[in-house]
């Protein structure tokens, strides 16, 4: 199977997981270790969108304090929440 993205793109996503909140660093690091390299192109695009959220908004979504305005994020958020 063709990789969904390049080494550099993955590096960029990993860097965009560097956040101002430690909680997010931890959640995103775990997610990356488990999933980043096997996400398909659609999931990668959604992940990129999620990473564009501000830190507090993203943490609220990840912790389930707010519901995503866009249902497409549901599956990814579930993966992010899995302990």
């Amino acid at each position: 199977m063709e990789p969904a993205t390049t080494h550099g793109e993955l590096g960029k996503l990993r860097w965009h997981c560097r956040r101002g909140l430690l909680e997010l660093d931890l959640v995103l690091e775990q997610f990356n270790n488990r999933h980043l390299e096997v996400l398909d192109a659609g999931q990668l695009a959604l992940f990129k969108e999620l990473l564009a959220f501000g830190d507090n908004d993203l943490l609220d979504l990840v912790m389930g304090r707010t519901a995503p305005a866009d249902e497409r994020y549901g599956a990814l958020l579930k993966m992010l929440r899995t302990p």
């Binding site: 590096g11 990993r14 430690l22 931890l26 302990p83």
Partner: protein, 586 residues
């Protein structure tokens, strides 16, 4: 090798609260300003600040800057410089009103003024009782501050270089700083940012400890750059620990848990705070609780497989109270400690939270090296924010004073830059070796085919700091810590990465960050080993008391030869009478 060069009046390294405040003032003065940041500005660590920013507005009850000054001097355990503290407290109201004017969405009183709430250590009438001094924007003060300042900077045409990592300062033979060398992460392009003024605003370095509330980004790059350029680091032995970070994760559990009736237990199920603070027990101040916890762990009464943590019990409060009074705690405990806190205690440890020391500056943000009691200004170099040490926090920072520090000294440094540039308009010639040091660091990482693992050396550094230079410090352990850290310093010279790619090579970025973390760590260990007293956040078993006769001194660590030098604390404020050292009791 020829590398690209760009020229700016001022280069600000860092886009947190301090960097943005400084850059805004510079850009509004029509200077050509570049701001470099490893991450998008509004993702800087300042975003984590919730509690608020201190200012004696007196919007709810009487308050004044002199009371604020007293609290800050006392909070610093008398190590803070009183000229700087007076300066900051006097400027606080202006700093907050400016921010309000920029559009910061502060919480309001019913009649439209800025709402203020109390915060630990901030008192009325020289310690009489709590005062409402903290100005907040809900629980997102830092976030709101970053957004407000970023928008204003965009309007003022500050040029942002986002995802650029500054690598090293450029210093000429005369010791003047002429800019920085930085690398673009997307391309690995290295460029010289030549500047009449270079301002470090790179934030703290809390990642030197295994237990840290700090985000991964806090790697002390400004400290590393300064140290490599021959600039000393001041008071690095002083780090504030928060008692309740989740063991293994660092995530903060708010003090509110103990406020609502939660308490700490050792492995025997003993409520040990009854022994250390019989009256207030678990509600004693941060340093007292942290010290008690560290003692329990050290003496073998910690819980967990290796006796490495303390238990924070709150299940007796009942799920209803927990959900109502402590919103979010259940999810945090579940997510980061894997514990249902309505049934089981949360494993916690005292966790590194804030760096009081840093790059030495005067109240105008000018970096200096000590010369006896005098200060030799490093021309062209300025610093502000958590990476700097001015020193307003001394041996212990008060909550909400850090955001204030960013605003006041960010602006003050910018004012000095404007004055200095007005006098000296020309760019100085760059030395031929301007970029040699960073290029050599990069070349080594490109060419090395074997060596030390960045992850392993980093882990060894964090373990060493945690074990030998934590909350409670023991002489033999500190001496061993120095030996171990010097070994880590050697190992870090031989780090190796497999990945040689050029686009967002995160392995390389982490290797470069480790160079900076290690400078921070070794300076901390050596400064701590040498300070033979207990003051504020520095607590030694063999010297349990503050020693005002011998140690009213700031420590300065120089990388070259790991040399230490001392300089007396400035007890003389700018205009008022000095606050003389007294026992710090609350």
């Amino acid at each position: 090798m020829a590398i690209a060069k760009r020229q700016f009046d001022a280069v600000v390294v860092g886009a947190g609260g301090s960097g943005l405040r400084a850059a805004l003032h510079l850009a509004e003065a029509d200077l050509k300003v570049a701001v470099l940041s490893k991450v998008f500005p509004t993702r800087s660590y300042t975003v984590a600040a919730q509690g608020g920013v201190a200012a004696s507005l007196g919007n709810d009850g009487e308050d004044n800057w002199h009371w604020h000054m007293f609290d800050t001097v006392k909070g610093s355990d008398y190590l803070g410089d009183q000229d700087a503290i007076e300066f900051m407290c006097r400027k606080a109201n202006e700093a907050v009103y400016e921010l309000e004017h920029f559009g910061m969405p502060f919480d309001r009183t019913p009649d439209g003024r800025i709402y203020q709430r109390p915060f630990g250590g901030q008192t009325r009438n020289y310690g009489e009782g709590p005062v409402k001094r903290s100005c907040a924007a809900a629980d997102r003060t830092g976030h709101a501050m970053l957004h407000t300042l970023y928008q204003r900077n965009v309007r003022a045409r500050t040029q942002f270089f986002v995802e650029w990592m500054a690598l090293d300062l450029i210093r000429n033979q005369d010791g003047e700083v002429l800019g920085v060398v930085a690398m673009e992460m997307e391309t690995s392009e290295v460029m010289i940012f030549q500047a009449k003024a270079t301002l470090l605003a790179t934030g703290g370095a809390g990642r030197i400890y295994s237990a840290s509330t700090n985000a991964y980004i806090n790697t002390g790059d400004g400290l590393g750059m300064a140290a490599r350029a021959g600039v000393p680091l001041e008071d690095m032995e002083f780090w504030q620990f928060h008692p309740t970070g989740v063991a293994g994760a660092g995530v903060l559990i708010t003090e509110g848990v103990r406020g609502e009736g939660g308490f700490l237990l050792n492995k025997d199920g003993e409520r040990f705070m009854e022994r250390y603070a019989p009256t207030v027990k678990d509600l004693a101040s941060r340093d007292v609780v942290s010290r008690a916890m560290a003692t329990e762990i050290k003496e073998g009464r910690g819980a967990g497989k290796d006796g490495e943590y303390i238990l924070l019990k709150l299940d007796h409060l009942g799920a209803e109270v927990i959900d109502k009074r402590l919103p979010g705690i259940r999810e945090i405990a579940m997510k980061f400690a894997n514990v249902d806190c309505t049934k089981n205690p949360i494993p916690v440890v005292p966790t590194c939270h804030y760096q009081m020391g840093g790059v030495p500056t005067n109240i105008h943000g000018q970096v200096y090296a000590p010369d006896g009691a005098d200060e030799n200004i490093v021309r062209g170099l300025y610093a502000a924010g958590e990476c700097s040490c001015v020193s307003v926090h001394g041996a212990n920072r008060l909550g909400t004073n850090s955001l204030l520090d960013l605003l006041v000294f960010g602006k003050s440094a910018a004012e000095q830059v404007i004055r200095d540039i007005a006098v000296d308009q020309a760019f100085k010639d760059l030395p031929n070796d301007a970029a040699d040091r960073p290029l050599a660091r990069l070349a080594r990482l490109y060419s090395a085919t074997s060596g030390e693992s960045v992850a392993e050396v980093g882990a060894e550094m964090r373990r060493t700091m945690q074990l030998h230079c934590g909350v409670f410090r023991f002489p033999d352990s500190l001496a061993e810590g120095v030996r171990k850290m010097l070994a880590v310093v050697e190992r870090v010279k031989h780090t190796f990465i497999k990945d040689k790619s050029k686009v967002f090579n995160t392995a390389r970025l982490e290797a470069l960050e480790l160079d900076n973390l290690v400078e921070t760590a070794v300076s901390t260990m050596i400064s701590a080993e040498a300070r033979k007293e207990s003051r504020g956040a520095h607590d030694r078993s063999d010297h349990p008391n503050r020693d005002d006769i011998n140690w009213m001194q700031h420590t300065f660590w120089f990388k070259e030869g790991d040399r230490l030098q001392y300089k007396p604390v400035k007890l003389k404020p700018l205009t008022v009478e000095s606050f003389q050292p007294k026992p710090r009791v609350y």
